[in-house]
């Protein structure tokens, strides 16, 4: 059953070829079998999953179905889940049981999806390898000595190993697309504001966006359809109507124009990955797309801009973890300042501390103009480059990451090398654009991801391009050995 896509399982459930309880039990059994090794889940919600599945079966029996009714999925542990531990991968929230559901969680539950559990992630989503998690590293199902990418590493590994049918994730600088690429699945980050951030633990509020990790673009469209849309609880959620992604995706192919950022193929890109991307572009050409070179003049500055803007916003967002209302609290301290310092010193891991201190530095008196304001100006230049490119082409296509999955421990001592992993993905976050990574080949036995970036609110076009690509290829059907 687990070899099927969400769309296929949805048909099976509707036709009563399988029940949601059977399906949920099957995935729970697969989690038991494989997750000791992978460590992709922080919490498994067995009992409530089976209750939700039984309720879904009743709905199906009554004929009240949506495409997600009865589908077992996993949520990144950054989304608050009512009455379920929500850790954000941190010791700080090891004892936090959320008193409410994030909008994403509530909407998917309403659509009838079954939550299998909460997936592992880099602490507060700060990382590109899932190694900063308080709950330990996640292993890449394609090679267990390699990282699955991050920060949505648990979601990516779980979907790649087919121990969850689909999963949610969040993407601040590449945290959906990068792990999707390294784990050989489809990862979709919508336009900034397309999905409500209510109940999604904040990292960098002008960049954070929720999205999907799935086997196929078709599955991503089904999941996003239920997640997207306005929310009175998030003042940055976009009021624009949500189009029917499935219908748009299957509509007849129209000639599109694809821009290839030539500077994405410079020295830093792994040779075999470059070949796979070029072959992917040839598929689009065969489909009738026009391919053009474009130049994003300031894109090489996206990593430095990001490492000013994101830590600045994080240092402010993470001020709420003070040991008073929830979370870890230092014991036996009488002085208030010392109490805060020890609480936070004990509760946060080293990468989170680095980012808070970086953010504090760039926002501090005397440095604000030189760093934060300057970064916001360069962010505008990067955004203008995208706008100029999109005046000429419909979609940008290039690599998702410079290399396939790297070794566990390989980059942990060098934050700069780790940060450069997101060099191709950060631009879309800075400009608020939708992006998707789809499997397009292998390099040294490890999956390679191809990234498509679209115009603001043009998710439908990205889904369609990815869907047509996946009709022509079978990279997305490849399953790591031992998980077939």
């Amino acid at each position: 059953m687990h070899d099927k896509t969400l769309a296929q399982l949805s048909d099976d459930l509707a036709a009563r070829r399988v029940s949601s309880v059977e399906l949920t039990e099957h995935y729970l059994q697969r989690i038991d079998q494989h997750d000791k090794e992978l460590n992709s889940f922080i919490t498994i919600t067995r009992e409530s999953a089976l209750e939700q599945a039984a309720a879904a079966d009743k709905r199906i029996k009554a004929g009240e179905t949506s495409p997600l009714t009865g589908i077992p999925i996993a949520h990144k542990d950054i989304f608050c889940t009512d009455n379920v531990k929500t850790t954000c991968g941190s010791k700080m929230l090891d004892n936090f049981v959320s008193p409410y559901d994030a909008t994403v969680v509530a909407r998917l539950a309403e659509a009838g999806a079954v939550m299998l559990g909460k997936t592992n992630m880099d602490e507060f989503a700060m990382g590109s390898s899932n190694e900063t998690s308080y709950y330990g590293v996640v292993r890449n199902p394609w090679d267990k000595e390699k990282v699955p990418g991050g920060s949505s590493g648990g979601s990516a590994a779980a979907v790649a190993a087919r121990i969850a049918c689909a999963a949610t994730g969040t993407d601040t600088g590449g945290s959906i697309r990068q792990p999707a690429a390294l784990s050989g699945i489809t990862g979709f980050k919508p336009t900034y504001g397309r999905v409500s951030r209510y109940g999604m633990i904040a990292f960098a509020s002008s960049l954070d966006q929720a999205g999907t990790l799935t086997q196929t673009a078709e599955d991503g469209a089904i999941l996003l359809q239920a997640m997207a849309g306005d929310d009175e609880r998030d003042s940055t959620a976009l009021p624009d109507p949500v189009p029917d992604y499935g219908a748009a995706m299957r509509s007849p192919w129209e000639k599109i124009s694809i821009g290839v950022p030539e500077n994405f193929f410079d020295d830093g890109l792994d040779d075999a990955s470059a070949v796979a991307i070029r072959e992917g572009l040839a598929i689009f050409e065969k489909l009738g797309a026009t391919i053009k070179d474009v130049r994003l003049e300031h894109i090489h500055l996206s990593v430095p801009v990001y490492y000013v803007v994101a830590p600045a916003e994080a240092s402010s967002n993470l001020a709420r973890f003070d040991g008073v209302r929830f979370g870890h609290r230092a014991e036996d301290v009488d002085d208030l300042t010392e109490f805060y310092m020890r609480t936070r010193g004990e509760g946060f891991g080293s990468e989170v501390k680095r980012r808070i201190l970086t953010g504090t530095y760039v926002l501090s008196a005397g440095y604000f103009d030189a760093y934060y304001l300057q970064a916001q100006k360069v962010r505008q230049l990067i955004s203008d480059d995208f706008e100029r490119a999109f005046s000429d082409v419909d979609v940008l296509v290039g690599p998702t990451t410079p290399t396939p999955a790297f070794g566990i421990g390989q980059k942990m001592d060098d934050p700069i090398q780790m940060y450069l992993n997101d060099i191709y993905t950060i631009g879309a976050n800075l400009a608020g654009l939708p992006g998707v990574s789809i499997p397009c080949g292998f390099s040294g036995g490890l999956p390679v991801g191809m990234q498509l970036v679209g115009k603001q609110l043009n998710e439908a076009e990205l889904f369609k391009a990815a869907y047509y690509f996946q009709q022509e290829t079978d990279w997305h059907e490849q399953v790591p050995a031992g998980y077939e």
Partner: protein, 95 residues
């Protein structure tokens, strides 16, 4: 620019974040690397650019200033480390 021990001590107080002596050397060198990375921005000519605070050019929506949530403190305070009579306990603030 590289950060010395004094700079980091000052940042730690501003950020209310304790760094242990063992962590200090590592934090110092890595933070200096990060500052060096972001220093690349200094060379860019941005004289005529307006800073971009947000990716979408939209108006922030407002709502009436009305009470919509009911009192639910008992449930919410279940997560609080120390509570007495529905009040959060903290170390002494005023002598």
């Amino acid at each position: 620019m590289s950060l010395d021990r004094e700079d980091i001590d000052k940042l730690c107080v501003l950020a209310r974040l304790k760094i242990t002596d063992e962590e200090m050397a590592d934090v110092g060198s890595k933070l200096s690397d990060i500052v060096e990375l972001v220093d690349e921005l200094q060379a860019v000519d941005t004289a005529s650019v307006i800073p971009m605070a947000h990716p979408l050019d939209r108006e922030q929506r407002l709502r009436p200033d009305a009470v919509t949530e009911t009192d639910d403190h008992e449930r919410i305070q279940k997560n609080a480390p120390q509570v007495e009579k529905a009040l959060y306990l903290v170390p002494k603030v005023i002598e």
